[in-house]
């Protein structure tokens, strides 16, 4: 499964705490604390990438760990 190779990453200094990722995370595992995003249960993350897709500040994303070829980011 492709999801296995991915991991959610937060770039804290870029996060402006807007809460968009949290609102639209289907698993509701993101939350804002002290104006920054945080993850509740990382293991519940389904690696759907919706948070990355809608983060206006590129502060949260899925990193592929064993990627050989460019996958679609859409």
């Amino acid at each position: 499964m492709p999801g296995d190779e991915k991991k959610i990453v937060i770039k804290n200094d870029w996060c402006k705490g807007c809460g968009i990722c949290a609102e639209f995370c289907p698993k509701k595992i993101l939350y804002i604390y002290n104006d920054k995003v945080n993850i509740k249960q990382e293991d519940e993350c389904i690696k759907c990438g919706l948070c990355e897709m809608r983060c206006p500040d590129y502060a949260i994303y899925l990193e592929e760990f064993m990627c050989k070829e460019d996958k679609s980011y859409a």
Partner: protein
């Protein structure tokens, strides 16, 4: 370390960008980068041309040839650039004000000429940069600092305007519907002729605040509910239609492209010489 698509397409040292927390422009800017990445284009041949506005600041962040011009004139600059060097992939990023207020004329003429330029409009229904005045796309009755008693103007439907002016690819998506946005941008870039993709954006700082529409999150939730794909139009009843905004591909036709036509003239003389 930022993500791959960001590293590959942005001037990372200039991030984070100046946009406010929750500003939709960042979502759209990323969508363009993803589209470019997926199309596997030569970065050296991509030009991003923008005007003035929050949206137009996008140019400065993207790691291509970037041209941040004067307010409203991006498409005219882009036209010169493209005519001078047709090998370039010229993409204009413009705001609703930049493209449809002061820049309206250049927009409709580029549509008419069907010149091979892709224009992406970050439509937040307001002049963000100057602090929240109503724009040509601010809905009737909403407020802006220059519409303190509610806007009495009718709003442009930018997609309709572009179609009426002759654009050959016209589509709309939103910061909520990002996948569609990426898809349309990709199609627009690949389209031969003038293509326009309107990306509905959000300005929580001015539009949201002035109109008591809440945070960025609230605004984007609104989009989820209010935007409907054009393919579903016939299925809606009249009352529903009223409150909906349509998105999707509105136009996608092939017509002679300006620069190709011009080169036919040049080629005619080349042949004459060689004869």
């Amino acid at each position: 370390m930022p993500s791959k698509v960001i590293k590959n397409n942005f001037r990372v040292e200039r991030l984070p960008h100046i946009w406010c927390p929750g500003c939709g422009h960042g979502i759209l800017m990323r969508a363009i980068a993803v589209a470019i990445e997926e199309l596997n284009l030569d970065k050296d041949k991509i030009c991003i041309v923008s005007g003035i506005g929050c949206s137009s600041r996008a140019a400065g962040y993207m790691d291509f040839n970037t041209l941040h011009t004067t307010h409203g004139r991006a498409i005219a600059f882009a036209t010169g650039l493209k005519v001078a060097n047709p090998d370039l992939k010229v993409i204009v990023i413009s705001g609703d004000g930049d493209s449809s207020a002061i820049g309206g004329n250049h927009l409709i003429h580029a549509c008419r000429r069907n010149i091979d330029i892709t224009t992406i409009i970050f439509n937040n229904n307001i002049y963000g940069m100057t602090g929240g005045q109503y724009s040509p796309t601010t809905p009737n009755k909403e407020k802006g600092t220059t519409a303190p008693y509610g806007n009495i103007d009718k709003a442009f439907d930018i997609c309709e305007l572009a179609s009426g002016a002759g654009a050959t690819y016209v589509a709309r998506s939103t910061v909520y519907h990002v996948k569609k946005m990426i898809e349309y941008v990709k199609k627009a870039i690949n389209h031969k002729g003038f293509s326009l993709v309107e990306g509905a954006s959000v300005c929580p700082t001015y539009y949201g605040r002035k109109n008591k529409k809440g945070s960025a999150v609230d605004l984007i939730k609104g989009m989820k509910d209010n935007f409907v794909d054009i393919s579903a139009k016939d299925k809606l009843n009249k009352d529903d239609i009223k409150n909906k905004i349509f998105m999707g591909e509105f136009k996608n036709v092939q017509e002679p492209e300006y620069i190709e036509e011009y080169f036919k003239i040049i080629d005619m003389f080349k042949k004459e010489v060689s004869m």
